[in-house]
Structures are given as C-alpha cells and as structure tokens.
Amino acid sequence: MHALRKHIHPGWLIIAPLLVLVVALYLGPILNILWLSVTDPEPGFGNYAKLGESDALLRILWTTVRICIITTMFSVTLGYSIAYAMVHCHQRQKNYMLTLLLVSFWISILVRTFSWLMLLGRKGLVNVTLEDIGLIAEPIAFMRNEFGVLIGMIHYMIPYAVLPLLVSMQALDKRVMDASSNLGATGAQTFWRIYLPLTTPGLVASTLLVFILSLGFYVTPAVLGGGKVLMVAEYISVQLLVTLKWGTAAMLAALMLFGVLAMLWIMSRFMKLSTVFGGAAR
C-alpha cells in the first residue's frame, strides 16, 4: 500500500469518484452503441452500407449538414459583428451588451422555441401584423420548413458563436492595429489584413463549436420543422422510440460522434479547449 501511494499521487483519490461514474455510466454505453453499429441486427458493416443504398438516409444527412453549414455561417458572421462591437466600445456599454447576451444564453430552449411558434405560425404575431398593415393577403409559411428551423437555430447559436470570438479579440494587442494605421493603412486595410487574420483562432473555434452543437440539435428542428425537416437527431429518436431499430440509429450516432471528435481535434490545434468552454460557461 505504501509503495503504491508513492507512485500514485493522492490527488487521484478525489478525481476517482467522478471519473468512475463517467466511465461506467457514460463511456460504457457509448462504446456499446459503437459496437451495436457493426453488430445489430447482424455482424458486419450492413448499417453503414445502407448509406449507399437508401436515398432517404442520404437526404437526412444532407439536410442536416446543409442546415448546420448555413446556421454556422450566419451565427459566426453575426457573432463576429457583436463581439467586435463589444470589444470596441466603452466598458459600461459593453457590460450592458454582455448582460443581454448572457440573458439570452440563459433563457430556456423550450421557452425560446415556444416563442418562435407564437411569432412565426400561420396565425402568429408576424403574419397577423403583416396582414393588418396590408402587406400580405395570405399568411406566409415561416414554419414547418427550413426557414423556421434556421431562424430558431441561428437565434440559439449566436451567443455560442460570440463567446470564443470575444475571448480571442480581447487577447489582441491593440498596438498592432495602431502600428498598422500609423504606417498609413486605411481602416479597411487594417481590418482585412491585420485584425481578421489575428482573430482566426477565435473564428475557427467559434465556427466548429457552433457546427458541433448544431449537428446534434433536436428541439428546434423537431418543433419548428414540424415533421417536414427531418434531421439526424430527430431521425435517431424515431428509430429508437418508435421503430426500435438500434442498428441504424447506432450507425448515425457513430458517424456523428466521429465527426464531432474530429472537429474537436482540429479545434484543439487552434485554441485551448478549456478556454472555449470556459468562455461558454461564463
């Protein structure tokens, strides 16, 4: 015992409870799911082969990837604008902006989805208002299509996009920009040639974070898509809870998991992961 204690740092004793819990109750079943993807209903890569055979599966994957890409593009661009404004204004104004950002971060996803339902529905506030002022005769379909899903998702993802960008912009040395303008560069030149490249780590982190979070998004697509926009997460839930086909669901989960891990690996090369999450938690 004494010899063992010398080799193992006593700190591990208090790490162990959580570690054991996560390994046993989380890692275990995830590995089991990966295993299922090549064994259920029969051993082999049959589940993966379905990707080549089934148009429906491919369509779902393509819808998911497309929606994630569009969501990421909008969230990161708009997030960049917010982060830029926050870094370049007075402390007091910045605090107000941060408050709004965090409040939106904290409002329940269900409340937000419900609100979009009330705003965008056929008899929602937006349609009713537009009809009242005579701009439209028929209600516009904002929901039960990709448009509704995108609005809901972008709205949810913007705060996640802002936080890593904020971290990266705050760490910049302002003197570099001063040097650039002293050397005669215009504002636009300084921005495109100096500022934007220097914030690349933040941009990469923010892009990947939003993309990863969008990939597995369930609530908003299920409600605002109204069954018309089927994404991977909803498809998995139908497979498990309704048709009880673990194999296909496990295969999709495995694809998603490997995708996420690959992106995390890329992200870790640009920014310390704890910084990204640390920003997200604060």
Binding site: H9, L13, G28, P29, L110, W116, V232
Partner: protein
C-alpha cells in the same frame, strides 16, 4: 480610438442583434394573459386564468416539484463530485491529469442526442428508466463538467503557496482543503452549482428518452404542451420560467460583483 463610420454602423447592428436575441421570448407574456382558451394574442381584455390554472393544476405542480427535486439533487451531486475532481486534477497536474480533464469535459460537447441514447441504452438493463435516480445520475454526468470548468477557473487564480503555508503550520490535508482551499474557490463552486441546477432544470433531450410516466419534469410537460400547441397554460409556464431565469441571473450578477469588489480590496 476614433470611431469610424463602419464601426458606428456595426455597433448599431450589434445592438439590434442583441435585442433580437432577447425580445422574442417576451411574446410569452401577452399570450399567457389571453382570456381565451386556446393559444392567442389577447385583444383588449386580459386575464390571469392561465396562471391560476398553472398554480392549481396538480399535473403542473407535480412537474414543478419533480424538476425542483431533480435539479437540486443534480446540483448538489455534480458540485460535490466536480469540485473534488477539479481540486484533484489541479493538485496532480500531470500529462495524464490533463487527458482525464479533456475526457471529463466530453459530456458537455458530445451531442445531447448521443448522450440520450447512451443513457437510454444502459438504463434499460439497470432498471433506471423513468426513475428519479436515473434522471439525477444522467443529469449529474452532464452537469459535472460545468462545475469542473468553473472550479478550475477559480483554482487557476489560487496561490499554491497558501496550501503549503497551511501544511507547514501543521494542518492536515482535510483541514487545508476545508479551511484554505474551499473558501478561496467559493465563487467557482457557487457558479458551478448554479449552472448545474439550470442545466438539469432545463434539460429536455435526455429526459425525453429516459422518463415516461412516473417522472414528468417541467420541460417534459412543456414539450408536450408545445407539441399539442393549444393550451395557453404553456405560455404561463414559459413566463414563470423566464422570471426564474431572470431572478437567477440577478443573483448571479450580484454575487459576481461582490466577488469582484472583494478581490479589489
């Protein structure tokens, strides 16, 4: 720095965007005040009947209660495990401990649907489906990484010499932890506990998979209401949730301001 036209334009745009982030949620307030029996905007007359229904309906009240029990248990459990683990990782600080840290953060970033699948898969043979224990364990695993992050952030500013001094003065490991380390990382522990509570209180995806009848949390009931899309009681519940978020936020803001001023003096 001179503010250029572009910067000014961008700043206005940023404000508009930030308002766009917050204001849509407020529509729940008028909808919850409609006197009608279906989801609608009130025209003229206002009524509190849906709030009355919310606070007298046995179903909704039991959901509030269940969510409260699960969120508080999750918060206590995740904060205890997460804080211990963060202190352990901080004291070991080796290549391996950093690997373990990265691994323990995974539940935060792995898509919720995959986590839901994993818990569902394991809870079936363990008989934990549709039980308090099942939900609390699942939520604890999802929430502990939050605590790990906030406590680790506090530990990063803690001076290790204080620990050394305490030990040199003859304090045991346990006394040092209780009297020296814990008081200095209190803000991180507090923030972690709050985040863990909110995560559990709000959690829907995993809950949808591993609960059915006997445990019916608030998000679960709201989810049903949203899918049925008729009963305005959901709007009243949404308003209550917004109010709770707001109160939690104010507590958090006051607390962190107090910490900031403590550090300053």
């Amino acid at each position: 720095m001179k503010v250029g036209l572009f910067s000014l334009f961008n700043r206005v745009g940023a404000w508009v965007l930030l308002l766009f982030l917050v204001t849509p949620a407020l529509i729940a307030i008028p909808v919850s005040l409609t006197p009608k029996r279906f989801l609608s905007m009130p025209s003229g007359e206002l009524s509190l009947r849906h709030f009355q229904k919310l606070f007298t309906s046995e179903e909704w009240l039991s959901s509030f209660f269940q969510s409260g029990v699960i969120a508080i248990s999750t918060s206590v459990l995740a904060t205890t495990l997460g804080t211990l683990c963060a202190i352990g990782l901080w004291r070991v600080s080796s290549k391996y401990s950093e690997l373990v840290r990265a691994f323990l953060l995974l539940p935060l970033i792995i898509p919720q649907i995959i986590s839901a699948m994993a818990f569902y898969r394991l809870w079936i043979p363990l008989g934990l489906l549709d039980s308090y224990v099942g939900l609390i364990l699942a939520h604890t695993i999802l929430a502990a990484p939050m605590v790990l992050i906030t406590v680790s952030a506090s530990l990063a500013t803690f001076d290790p010499k204080l620990e050394q001094a305490s030990k040199n003065l003859g304090a045991s490991n346990w006394t040092t932890m209780r009297m020296v380390i814990l008081p200095s990382i209190k803000p991180g522990v507090f923030a972690g506990a709050l985040f863990a509570f909110i995560l559990s209180w709000d959690e829907i995806v995993v809950t949808l998979f591993i609960s059915k009848f006997s445990v019916y949390t608030l998000p679960r009931r709201m989810w049903n209401g949203i899918r049925e899309n008729t009963d305005p009681t959901v709007a009243a519940a949404a308003v209550v949730l917004i109010a709770i978020t707001f109160i939690a936020f104010v507590i958090f803001a006051i607390q962190s301001r107090r910490n900031a001023s403590n550090n300053a003096t």
